[in-house]
């Protein structure tokens, strides 16, 4: 197993200095911890600098550890297409701090759905994302963020309550606001839903 870090680490440290908090090599993979404020610049630099050219976004995810004191980490996996180089960049968000990181949608279009999923499963907000809403659960899902360690395996509510909420599904929760802005569908919504939407409520399950 390779124990040496990727050569990009040294160049990153030279460029960003303190913003690179530390780096780790685990099972041959290089992991770089960046500060939340500069992580977008770090990723942009890795993508655009000739010689680095990490032009492919492999994955965005998050890790919530079992130890409640430990920080929640948001993970970006990037890759260079033209040479065998992979990199993992992480931001550790300590407990108590707001779960927000900048989006990388402006750098990679593939980040769109990946960030939506991290938001859906962990509740991490991606500042600047054009359309941050739930993707795997329905939009008005009220139980919480499933992949957090504080969320029990079978969910918070009882099965009958989960069934009731699933079957209830207000009409506007089946369409995104973007879709409702298209003509016709608005007319077909029930009157009380239209009232609610006119008042600016997105319609959460009560």
């Amino acid at each position: 197993m390779i124990a040496a870090p990727s050569p990009s680490v040294a160049t990153l440290r030279k460029e960003f200095g303190e913003a690179i908090e530390r780096h780790v090599v685990s099972c041959g993979d290089t992991i770089v911890y960046a500060s939340r404020e500069r992580v977008h610049d770090v990723l942009a630099w890795l993508k655009e600098t000739p010689g680095e050219d990490y032009s492919y976004l492999t994955d965005i995810t998050a890790v919530d550890y079992r130890d409640p004191e430990r920080a929640l980490e948001v993970v970006w996996q990037i890759r260079a297409i033209d040479r065998p180089a992979d990199m993992r960049v992480k931001v550790a968000i300590p407990t108590g701090e707001p779960l927000e990181v900048p989006t990388v949608w402006d750098l990679w279009r593939g980040a769109n759905w990946l960030e939506r999923e991290v938001f859906d499963m962990f509740g991490v907000l991606f500042i600047g994302h054009p359309d941050l809403r739930r993707i795997l659960m329905w939009e008005t899902y009220a139980e919480g963020f499933p992949l957090r360690k504080s969320f029990p395996l079978r969910g918070h509510f009882s099965r009958s309550e989960q069934t009731r909420q699933a079957l209830a599904g207000q009409p506007e929760s089946h369409y995104s606001l973007e879709e409702l802005s298209i003509a016709d569908e608005y007319q077909n919504l029930p009157a009380d839903v239209r009232e609610r939407l006119k008042q600016g409520k997105r319609g959460f399950v009560e």
Partner: protein, 434 residues
């Protein structure tokens, strides 16, 4: 040939300045009443309203429970908004409550069209975490499993895409070939579809007697069926008319949208995990990777057809180099000792007990492993804290990223093209929604 790169305008942002989702009211706020008036969406030139069409989630042509909401101007798609999550089963959450070997059956059910390849990816990811070297025979058998999975996955794609575009017969031919692979899978693992082939450090069982002859027979006869299907499609004017120039994406956008697998290669990017990040000894096999040029549906079809031929080629080579030997690594902390020894030898009994009761324990750390699944790069990312159950199991699904490019592929296409484009992306909802 021309390709259009379209910036997808994703509608209302729904976020306030701090990036929090806000209660966005519809339309324009009227000054006096404070209520909101909803504008209709008018096309200036013709004064016609656009239609909102819902396809799915229950629909024969969506290849699973996918829901597409289309904004149509007549027959032309202005916007396509996919909704997923209708098959979200909580795999990643479930993985945190299972020992590593207990996760193997879960992997069958994510990409259920190529189960053995997922099993292999999982075992390899945990072996990377533990820095375990598997045996020679296990390596070759895993290559055989991966290539068999590639063939059956592409056959499903071929059959269902044919149906979507109106050709029913190749579906039956493709499924008949799949049945032959299913027979081989069943003889090896006991199950047709949910194979659970691998274990950490080895396989669940060695191939039975006569199995190699069965696979050799398949390799000899499969190219003929493939040629038959090829003769039905490749030079067929209907097929060419419906697939050439449709749903194209260029190489730069394909990379930026994180497309993967045949979608990426059809757009002209010669990236294949087997060649660029080799694993399981793929660098020692003699095979070609088809790369397309235009990135349209026709190129994706050609790429997948050729991949099936190359997979047959790899299978023949793997069969030739299969030598007798152990399939499991000789490490009692990882592989269960034989039952006879566990019943007679104290040490073996203790190892057996610890493995069954506690499970395999990798050291604390994390590892990401990607392999070239039929649909693209499947990646498993494990974070371990030294216990028998992972802290985090992340499945990086290829179809998820491929499908996220669907809006930009469909924009400007006709409604029937949407079905064809959706078919060409080759999605499996089990993997997308997990």
């Amino acid at each position: 040939m021309s390709t259009r790169t379209v910036d997808v305008a994703l509608g209302t942002s729904g976020l306030d300045a701090r990036g929090r989702p806000i209660t966005v009211p519809l339309g324009v706020q009227l000054q006096d009443t404070g209520e909101f008036e909803v504008p209709g969406h008018f096309d200036e030139a013709f004064g016609a309203e656009h239609m909102l069409i819902n396809i799915g989630p229950q629909h024969p042509a969506t290849h699973g429970v996918l829901r597409l909401v289309l904004e149509l101007d007549g027959e032309t798609v202005r916007r396509c908004i996919p909704h997923i999550g209708y098959l979200h089963s909580g795999f990643e959450k479930l993985g945190e409550y299972r020992q590593y070997n207990q996760i193997v059956p879960l992997t069958d059910r994510t990409d259920y069209l190529s189960p053995m390849a997922n099993n292999v990816c999982l075992a390899m990811a945990v072996e990377k975490l533990m820095d375990l070297q598997i045996t020679e025979r296990c390596t070759v058998l895993r290559v055989i499993a991966c290539e068999m999975s590639r063939i059956i996955s592409h056959l499903v794609w071929l059959g269902t895409t044919g149906i979507d575009l109106g050709a029913f017969t190749p579906f039956l031919w493709a499924f008949q070939e799949r049945e032959r692979i299913y027979d081989l899978q069943e003889a090896w693992t006991g199950a047709r579809l949910t194979t659970s082939l691998t274990r950490v450090g080895g396989l669940m069982a060695d191939i039975p007697d006569g199995w190699e002859a069965g696979l050799r027979d398949f390799c000899n006869t499969f190219p003929k069926t493939l040629a038959e299907i090829d003769s039905m499609f490749t030079k067929n004017s209907i097929w060419c008319g419906r697939t050439q120039g449709v749903g194209a994406i260029n190489a730069e956008d394909a990379i930026n949208s994180s497309l993967t697998g045949p979608m990426l290669r059809a757009s002209g990017v010669p990236f294949d995990m087997r060649k660029d990040r080799p694993y399981l000894g793929y660098e020692t096999y003699d095979f070609d990777v088809p790369v397309g040029e235009h990135g349209d549906i026709y190129d994706r079809y050609l790429v997948r057809m050729e991949e099936m031929r190359q997979a047959t080629r790899i299978l023949e080579q793997a069969l030739a180099r299969l030598k007798p030997g152990p399939i499991n690594v000789d490490d009692p902390r990882v592989i269960l000792p034989p039952k006879s020894r566990a019943m007679s030898d104290m040490e073996a009994m203790i190892f057996h007990f610890k493995q069954v009761m506690e499970g395999v324990k990798p050291p604390a750390g994390e590892a990401y492993l990607g392999i070239e699944n039929p649909k693209g790069e499947l990646g498993y990312y494990f974070v371990s804290d030294g216990t028998a159950k992972p802290v985090r199991w992340r499945i990086r699904p290829p179809s998820f990223l491929n499908l996220s490019a669907l809006p930009r592929l469909c924009e400007g296409a006709l409604l029937s093209d949407v079905i064809a484009i959706n078919a060409s992306v080759d999605i499996v909802m089990g993997e997308i929604d997990r």
